[in-house]
């Protein structure tokens, strides 16, 4: 029996995003910018959740995919916006959407490049290798002058608005939900629970792991593009390991494998972040304590149905 709820939910969300956009001139600038950040974090958290939570592949390099998407989409708009701008706001909107998709594609390619060699690795080794890949992406960008090098890219057009952000967020949730409820989802869960048994059952673990990485990376790339056109300045330093950890905290707090959980966590943590801005010194300490306490006391996070990997699994 076909489940129509996800499709209806998607339409509702897109409509909601459009309505929000119409109201945006009424909104306080600061509140609007927080909403955009929330949207971007939702995309990041849900996409990482696909890899970490649903498929059990612990990835610490998500910021690298975000960076790839951010730089790719920024380069596109920086090069073509002067040409397209005179054609009006709809043309610019199309350019922006195109650049986001390109950013996502580049990030997905990176996801493929990262996923393939990492396939034989498990658990903590996989985590460190993905961290390494994330750092390599960052270092490559840092040393590429045409991407602005270590000094970053500035003057990016501020195309990101509330509609764009929440449309992408809704799309991300929709795609991940559909994927998880399909045969792919069964494959992901099989890989997560016991990879060796899954192989023995004839499940192509390679295929599922790669799909998870690539799709997760694609959406991280979209988030990166949104971010670049929001802050208007990106530097490789902003996509380092600590940024990956930010997203990991959201996924863990929300509950690995639970989409509504990570959405809630993304919202809560973004708000917490802003609220603690005046106490910047304490912010990361709060996050760190949160991480430690959650892992000890409630590893399934807020809404997760996942009680941590079985002992003995993961790692050589």
């Amino acid at each position: 029996m076909k489940n129509h709820i996800p499709h209806l939910a998607l339409f509702a969300a897109l409509a909601g995003a459009a309505v929000l956009q119409m109201f945006s001139p009424q909104l306080d600038d600061y509140a609007a910018s927080i909403l955009v950040l929330i949207g971007i974090n939702i995309v990041l958290a849900v996409s990482l959740n696909l890899v970490n939570g649903h498929t059990g592949q612990f990835s610490l390099g998500h910021a690298g995919f975000m960076a790839a998407g951010a730089y790719a989409s920024a380069m596109v708009t920086l090069s073509f916006a002067p040409v397209v701008a005179p054609a009006g706001p709809w043309a610019e909107g199309a350019l922006f959407a195109g650049s986001l998709l390109l950013g996502g594609a580049v990030a997905a390619l990176c996801g493929l490049l990262v996923g393939l060699p990492s396939l034989r690795l498990r658990g903590d080794y996989l985590a460190i290798v993905t961290l390494g890949f994330g750092e390599i992406i960052r270092v490559v960008i840092q040393n590429t002058e045409s991407l602005g090098g270590a000094r970053g890219l500035e003057g990016i057009r501020p195309y990101t608005n509330l509609f764009g952000t929440f449309a992408v967020a809704a799309l991300t949730i929709y795609v991940v939900a559909c994927l998880v409820n399909s045969t792919y989802g069964r494959g992901f869960i099989a890989v997560r629970d016991d990879e060796i048994a899954a192989e023995a059952m004839g499940i192509h673990t390679v295929k599922y792991k790669v799909v998870a990485f690539v799709v997760g990376a694609f959406f991280a790339g979209l988030a990166g593009g949104l971010y670049a056109h929001f802050i208007t300045f990106i530097a490789p330093e902003g996509f380092n390991f600590l940024k990956s950890v930010d997203v990991v905290v959201m996924v863990i707090l929300g509950g690995m494998g639970s989409t509504p959980g990570v959405v809630a966590a993304a919202i809560l943590l973004t708000l917490l972040n802003e609220g603690l801005r005046d106490f910047e010194q304490y912010r990361m300490i709060v996050f760190a304590l949160l991480l430690i306490v959650i892992m000890i006391v409630r590893p399934q996070g807020l809404l997760g149905n996942f009680r941590g990997w079985p002992k003995g699994k993961a790692g050589a």
Partner: protein, 386 residues
Amino acid sequence: MQTRAALLTGHAWCVLLSILILPVAGCKKAPTAGQADEIVVGEFGSLTGNTASFGQSSHKGVQMAFDEQNAAGGVLGKKLRLVVEDDQSKAGEAATVVRRMISRENPVAILGEVASSRSLEAAPIAQQNKIPMITPSSTNPKVTEVGDRIFRVCFIDPFQGAVLAKFMLARGWKKAAILMDVKQDYAVGLNEFFKDYYLKNGGTVVSEQSYSSGDKDFKAQLTSIRATQPEAILVAGYYNEAGLIASQARQLGLNVPLLGGDGWDSPSLVEVGGEAMEGNFFSNHFSAEDKSPAVQNFLARFREKYNEEPDAMAALGYDAAMILFDAMKRAGTTEEGALCRAIASTKDFPGVTGSITLDDKRNAEKPAVILQVEGGKFRYVETVMP
């Protein structure tokens, strides 16, 4: 396994949470600017982090100017309120804090920053939001090229690079090595302009190496430089790395003089570099040994207020604030267009760091001084006119 019920619950949660966001969105646009009887000015700088010395010095200079002005009755009959944001010396933070400052406080003008990279980040935002921005000490020419609402009160690197090159050649050092910080626009620009003048006037660059802000180990680059036997080394970067570079160079037996730009100006330079720093030179905006009454007066007041010696960043911060007040008075208003025109037409303003006139590119043409590290202090060597 996600059952239908679970799926429903999941999506219901999402909808519920989205509703929670609405109260945040509910904040209507705040009425513009604070109370009607005060003028709000924003300042952003690196108060913490790798280049904390810059932000803190600059802020002290700015704060002193504000306090003195308020004590004298404010400007245009209103009190001045300074809003300060810290960008933690991090790339990306400057853009974020300036954005926040603009949307929350709606200042009439922004002062900042010392580091050219971070000024470059924030300038497009100020330009777009129609808020004049004055940078006290960013020397990279690109900063004012961002737009006609961006100004600076110091000299620019084409001049500073040439000053250093001229000095090297005058001392007979015709073979130079370069060690440059690729993470900072300031350093990359300074290097380019230095080479421009140096190579055209008989110098040769025997080795060009690079590093990143935050690096601790420079022995590999210094060893390569050592093999090319330069007569002097240009260290284009900020004070922390400069100190470490000096110390490691001496450890490797590389005893030639090191030269730097105003990015070296900080007490941390000798704290980190120690004895290895002795005898090295750098170009700067002013010298504390300058006997002119303006400088001595400033030094005395600064010492009294903060119980420490000011450096160039503090002096420039002070000058930037004073020029802003002067422009407000001349324009008779804080309205953006008039204020910008007033700042742009600043002529012969008697600053602590010299007489300041803004040219048509909104930069200031001012002399530079060369200082030498001696006994842990910065001793004046000579002045170079533009």
